[in-house]
């Protein structure tokens, strides 16, 4: 009898009435064929697969993870809030042990949305996974969380949000940033001084096929997870590594995605990108759902799948092996790197440029972080979108999102906030994560 070996929760919210614009890849039709395939397969009838209705996320949920400028309402639509709310519903089902794991098939996606969000970047306005992770941490007190981002684009938003957080391991596998939006995610990007090595970025050459992808999972991601020992594994399940995706150049397939899911054993998977809506998504999503539920997925093969045509070249294999070795080396040196990053109490400055391709905003950020060996420190961000685009300027002192917060870091966080001159900024925000407070000056 057909039965889920692992009880699996699903939130399916295709937002059939929402699009960025009518011909944009992120439009109403995106999950239509997935819904058809999943419905025709009778997935929702399988004992042990439970479909949940999403809920609306609130401004409070977003404020645990992000600063929206000028405010949450200005940069989100109901669809974003339902998408984030859908991830929350899955998180609840998993944390309350109603199901063993869960998959939120929701849109719009979120992994390009950063700590400070002015609007849409890479089709993302708010960061669904980050909002869910912070919800899980504050609601259920989970400490160590690993996020594995398997979208073809660098998950730079999630990377940014957990940059200073040593308790969240963020691993992104993506097509090499020199060939792909957002142009970041190189091996040397390892997280802030207090959390170095807790962000791992693994660029893969264009043309990487299932073999190369699973090599990285087996030889890097799984050993790292094994050492990090997370309480929860989250998969940002983008599906644009598929060989038919119109926006990318990779050669991954539905069987590969299902196997990846079986290997990774995510507690929660959240859909990200993936725009081969007819040829890939129906099969990839079905494969992931079956893999999560522990049901045989060997029959889930794209009608035009030809592994011979998709075989990767020897030079690609070599490149992938080299990158994997390099990442493993960084990982093994992470504590030393943190030790070498600076002296406790010291303030370090980082400059960053961020481009919002969807909303066409270019922003320069200055970030100041307090070095701390006992927690993730605290930091302040001063984002400056140039004149003419957006007139608001803000500062963001914030204590870090860590459970081992030392008083000096909290004090410094409030000092950042209090010292921001009000006449110089339109908005000044403070996120006090240990207390769960969000202040606006």
């Amino acid at each position: 009898m057909l039965k889920a070996l692992h009880k699996t929760g699903l939130v399916f919210f295709p937002a059939f009435d929402w699009a960025i614009d009518p011909t944009h890849p992120e439009r109403e039709e995106r999950l239509l064929y997935t819904q058809d395939q999943v419905t025709e397969e009778g997935v929702f009838d399988i004992p042990g697969i439970i479909e949940y209705k999403p809920m609306l996320a609130t401004a409070e949920d977003i404020r645990r993870a992000q600063f929206c400028v000028p405010d949450e309402a200005a940069i989100t639509t109901e669809s974003h809030l339902i998408s984030a709310g859908g991830a929350k519903v899955i998180a609840d089902a998993v944390m309350n042990k109603e199901v063993q794991n869960g998959f939120a098939l929701i849109r719009p996606p979120g992994h390009h949305s950063m700590r400070v969000s002015h609007g849409g970047r890479g089709f993302c306005h708010i960061n669904i996974e980050a909002i869910m992770v912070e919800y899980i941490r504050s609601r259920y007190g989970v400490k160590r969380i690993a996020i594995v981002d398997t979208d073809c684009h660098h998950g730079d938003g999630t990377d940014n949000i957990f940059w200073h957080d040593p308790d969240v391991l963020f691993i992104s596998l993506h097509q090499d940033g020199r060939t792909m939006f957002p142009g970041t995610g190189f091996p040397g990007e390892l997280g802030g001084p207090n959390a170095r090595g807790s962000n791992l970025n693994i660029p893969l050459p264009p043309g990487t096929s299932t073999e190369g992808y699973l090599y990285v999972i087996n030889h890097c991601v799984l050993p790292v997870l094994n050492e990090f020992k997370p309480d929860l594994v989250i998969n940002s399940a983008g599906q644009d590594n598929h060989y038919t995706d119109p926006l990318t150049n990779m050669n991954f397939c539905a069987q590969g995605y299902a196997e990846l899911t079986t290997l990774l054993k995510p507690d929660i998977a959240v859909l990200e990108g993936g725009y081969a809506i007819e040829g890939a998504l129906p099969y990839v999503n079905l494969g992931i759902i079956l893999a999560m539920a522990g049901i045989d997925y060997t029959g889930v093969v794209e009608p035009d799948y030809n592994p011979e045509k998709l075989r990767q070249s020897v030079s690609i294999t070599d490149k992938i092996k080299k990158t994997t070795a390099q990442i493993n080396k960084y990982w093994s040196q992470r504590f030393q790197m943190r030790e070498d990053a600076g002296n406790p109490g010291e303030i370090q400055i980082r400059h960053k440029e961020i481009f919002y391709d969807t909303d066409n905003i270019f922003e320069r950020q200055k970030e100041r972080v307090r070095i701390c060996k006992d927690c993730g420190g605290c930091f302040e961000i001063d984002p400056r979108p140039p004149r003419g685009f957006i007139s608001r300027v803000s500062t963001f002192p914030s204590t870090p999102i860590s459970f081992a917060i030392i008083p000096a870091c909290i004090e410094k966080g409030y000092e950042f906030f209090d010292s921001a001159p009000k006449n110089k900024y339109h908005h000044v925000f403070l996120m006090d994560r240990p207390k769960g407070n969000y202040h606006i000056k």
Partner: protein, 557 residues
Amino acid sequence: MIIGLDVGGTHTYAVLLSNKGVEKSVKVTTDHADLFSTVLSGFTQLLESIDPAQIERAVISTTLTTNAIIQQTMEPVGMIVSAGPGIDPEFFRTGDHYYPVSGSINHRGREKAPVNEMQIQDIAKKMADAGIEYVGVVSKFCVRNPSHEILIKRILNKYFKKIFLGHHVSGNLNFPRRIATTHLNAAVFSLHKSFFEAVKKSLTEKGLTVPIRILKADGGTMSLEASMHFPGQTVLSGPAASIMGAIPYAPEAQDAIVLDIGGTTTDIAFLVDKAPLLEPVGIQRGRYKSLIRSLRTDSKGIGGDSTLRVKDGNLTIGPDRQGPAMAFGGPLPTPTDAMVVLNVMDTGDREKATAGIETIARQLDLTVDQAAEKVFKTCCTIILKKTFEMIDQINSQPVYTVHDFLEGYKLSPQKILVLGGPAPFFAQKIEDLYQIDTLAVPNSPVANAVGAALARTTCEVSLYADTEQGIVTAHEEDFAEPISKTFSEDDLMETAYTLLKEKAINSGADPENLEEVEVVEFQKFNIVRNFSPRGKIFRTKMQLKPGLIKGYETVLH
């Protein structure tokens, strides 16, 4: 005048209705081993001293197919399924003669792998040699493109008596359910056919020649001829009959709960503005899931004759029945005994009832009256708890658009209608306990037969238009037409309405009962490839809502 006959678990009721109300009703004991004589004796008694020429319509609701499923007396039939990519079709095996074959159609209805005709020939011979007479053919995504099913049928035709095709079953997607439903239709076909041909013959001999209609699980009727293609649709028409019987007493523009409290089970259903709520996909009972349109009902194993016990100091009720109540000569105490003790019911042997409740009272350390009160109250609580759970479930059903999420209909019943033997007693208690306006449906024992008599024809059509591929289809109705790029939402609705009307008339609807049309579903998508629009996809489902035929409702009040 019209006739309604409902075969129930214990008794079969038949009623004769005129525009003045119920003219006559008869009750016969149901003989599950010989439903034919049960039905016939119902008709015989009802038609005694009635001129058959006065009868305009007769509707029958039977347990024939339901029993065949429960008793596993369905005929062995063959199944040919073509799945293509996805879950292994072996999981959906219906019996020994089940053959997954090659060929595949994708979600847009495009052929991805052809049918292997040699393979079908071989299977056909094998099944014919094994003595198979009826075969079901189901291909994945046949509702988008049935060409494989049609081709396979053409090959099979010369070997078998009748072939059932998956795309005729429903416009809904769900391959495993389509397999189960097609199989059910094939497997109960000859039973259904011989039964109703015999009924029709006997009625003709009595001079009753009006077309016979059969009640379906969705509370609507179909003509005998239409039922031959979908005999599976008659499954679970019993609960449907009782719910239809409650409609005349339901409030307008409000939601209502219908409780049919029987001997061992209570059926629960909902009415929205006098129209019953339907299952979103099809009947499901436990592991059995189908695409058969059905009223949304659920049952709880509790009724007037449920056995009362005390386990570890706690009162339990049912789910079993060991016989009638002690007040009526049964072996063990039941909720009915509690009602007799409390003088809520004034029939039955009060002494015996008291003796029964006393055994419960002793174990619970209560007086007899207290125990009876507790039993009665607990019954109501259990039934209502299940009802509220169902309402929560209905209201938390997933939705797929922002609009439905924000504006979706929330079921909030303000009235309860109770049917069944103990209905009047329960109604008062439920109203006292829950402060919800509760009404016992008058003349409750025959309400089911009245419901069957007054049910109108229902049907549904599903349309799919794809302007990129230039076609509008309703494969369930064997309909496909070319369309232009400018095909619009209005064109779609017009086509849907025409098809719906045609289908309704073919299923035996009277032209004056074709107004309750409802658009159940509508979706519209732009097809975009490489950043430029290529066309539109439209989908709609339109139905003739279940309800009562005109001209009779008011006479019941």
